[in-house]
Symmetry: C2
Subunit: 337 residues, 2 copies
DNA sequence: CTGAAAGCGCTAACAC
DNA sequence: GTGTTAGCGCTTTCAG
């Protein structure tokens, strides 16, 4: 491994000078600079990252901590999100450290990463209504940015969808098609986005004088399996819904499957909607009416917010950047086209 | 941030002694050890990772480098794979560094990570028949482990599916159901797994005296969209296939969609098979006949191989560990049940 | 314009 | 048992 010292020897200069030449300081003679630059290229010099990090006491690394299994964050959606984060990180020269945690105590992992100085900041996904991670990071002032809001103090950099607005679009869509008995399959309500969406749906329907029958609200699903089972319950009721709103596309697809098993024709005698617009939503049968969010870009946006936050970490009076995105309704056959 | 020095001052010992007490060296008096341990807990001492890494010149970090978009590696499949890697890494105390690369020159990223000493080893996914990454890493002797083999020298730690065997199962399955004209939709043949699978399918069918009509082999798809388009081509032929073999589940689902658009009843007058058994395969319509691989565990296995390789990096004569897994055929409705 | 010296926090020979 | 010293590779005062 070639070090600054090796380089210095080669060009007959001190380590200091070489370091400065490479760092682009102005107080280096053009001759020396060229000499050094050439030699560096020649010998294939690349700084030792760990040495730099130790000395700067910053890591140029962003952390994302994920639960062992991605409950509530559907896979295709997540993959794109992660890619968005990764792309933006590398654009700004940051490494991305991904940690999977299997224990209950997620917070311990955050603490460990902070105190062992492994990352400069965190990206938080799938915020909870009461989110210990957010609380902790806010208290300690450690940089982070989130995709999603929380119930308590939203005083941190974040990007979020306007879930209420999105569900308003769904409500309009279904109401226009004369649905009155509407079923819902959603993730646990301690997940912030799930709560917002349910509230939004209720509000949206109320505009049309429709209220949700509590029996038709199935809570606790986040994947196809859950969607399947909950849809079976709903459709087996004496007075079943004519439309089912799934809170993500996976759930909706599970519901489609259940409907089919029960001899229903989705899009004809039952409407089903999803959320996320994963690539498959267009290519499943029937194609899914859903809400589109530019998840890849969202990943990038959160990352940019975080990096900005890290760079202004010293500033006492930085502005908290927040972006709320208006999602878009994509109408396909599953809701009657 | 509390450092060894702080600790040393507190207990009136030298930094060295404190370090050794914490590292569990035997030449420390029990009294000192206890004193130190207690103080460390008290002050919340955690070693500075970067300092440790600089001094050990090892990073305790595994790297995985991904193309900007996961072509050829279906999303749900990939998520599980990554989770498997992440879980195992953290079990062994390794960090996982994920890098997304958008440029053509993937290899440059590998080189950079190595020479800037950012990771101790790499996990390679989606091996190519002629794989520059593998070649380079083999040449330089930098530790890595791969999911998949290559055409050239397979002299490295790897886990792979037995793709030939898997396709044999598909061939048996279709032949038993009297299919003779069989269509294929597969990724580009420079991807090793795609090539192996195609070879395997041909071999498997030959046992029944069936040969693949070249017109029925569509090459170049890896997602639903490609599957959809290629299936349309196949089914639009004057003498269309009675079965379509998709080389992954996404492609197969796209094909299902195309078949439906053309008025065919998948599982009845057209058989379609997939590969991977992503969670959705069970819950789409019709449920997909496919090949199951324990992808989460595979991720873990590759990771273990890599860690083992890293730990034996000095040894001149380490044994190259390789595991080839027998996949399993999952029969569902899409192929007639 | 350049170099000597200090230090980031830690570990490991090597004395005592 | 414990401390002194040196050094991982880099950046950054501070003199000259």
């Amino acid at each position: 491994m070639v070090t600054l010292k090796d380089l210095a020897q080669r060009v007959n200069r001190s380590v200091t000078t070489v370091s400065r030449a490479l760092a682009g300081y102005s107080d280096v003679s053009p001759k020396t600079r060229e000499l050094v630059t050439k030699a560096a290229a020649d010998m294939g010099y690349i700084p030792n990252t760990m040495a730099q990090r130790l000395q700067k006491s910053s890591t140029d690394t962003l952390g994302i901590i994920l639960p062992g299994y991605g409950e509530g964050f559907s896979e295709p959606f997540f993959t794109e999100f992660l890619a968005g984060i990764g792309k933006m990180s590398s654009k700004y020269g940051y490494d991305l450290l991904v940690t999977y945690v299997h224990t209950r105590d997620e917070l311990a992992t955050y603490k460990k990463m902070i105190v062992s100085r492994r990352v400069d900041g965190f990206i938080i996904v799938r915020t909870l209504c009461v989110d210990e991670r957010v609380k902790y990071l806010c208290e300690t002032g450690f940089p982070f940015a989130a995709f999603g809001r929380v119930d308590h103090d939203n005083c941190f950099p974040l990007v979020d969808e306007d879930g209420e607005y999105a569900m308003g679009l769904i409500a309009d869509h279904l109401a226009e098609r004369n649905h009155k008995r509407i079923g819902v399959i959603c993730p646990p309500q301690f997940i912030k986005s799930a709560k917002v969406r349910l509230t939004g749906l209720k509000k949206g329907l109320l505009k049309y004088g429709i209220t949700l029958d509590p029996d038709l609200v199935q809570i606790g699903s986040f994947d196809q399996k859950g969607g399947y089972e909950h849809a079976k319950l709903l459709l087996g009721l004496p007075d079943p819904p004519t439309a089912i709103v799934g809170f993500n596309d996976m759930v909706a697809m599970g519901a489609v499957h259940a409907a089919h098993d029960m001899g229903l024709n989705v899009g004809k005698n039952l409407a089903i909607t999803g959320f996320d617009d994963i690539p498959m939503a267009e290519f499943c049968r029937p194609p899914l009416t859903t809400i589109r969010q530019p998840i890849n870009q969202i990943g990038g946006m959160v990352t940019e917010l975080l990096i900005q936050r890290i760079k202004t970490a010293g500033d006492t009076d930085f502005e908290v950047q927040q972006t709320i995105l208006k999602p878009e309704l994509i109408v396909r056959e599953s809701s009657g086209g």
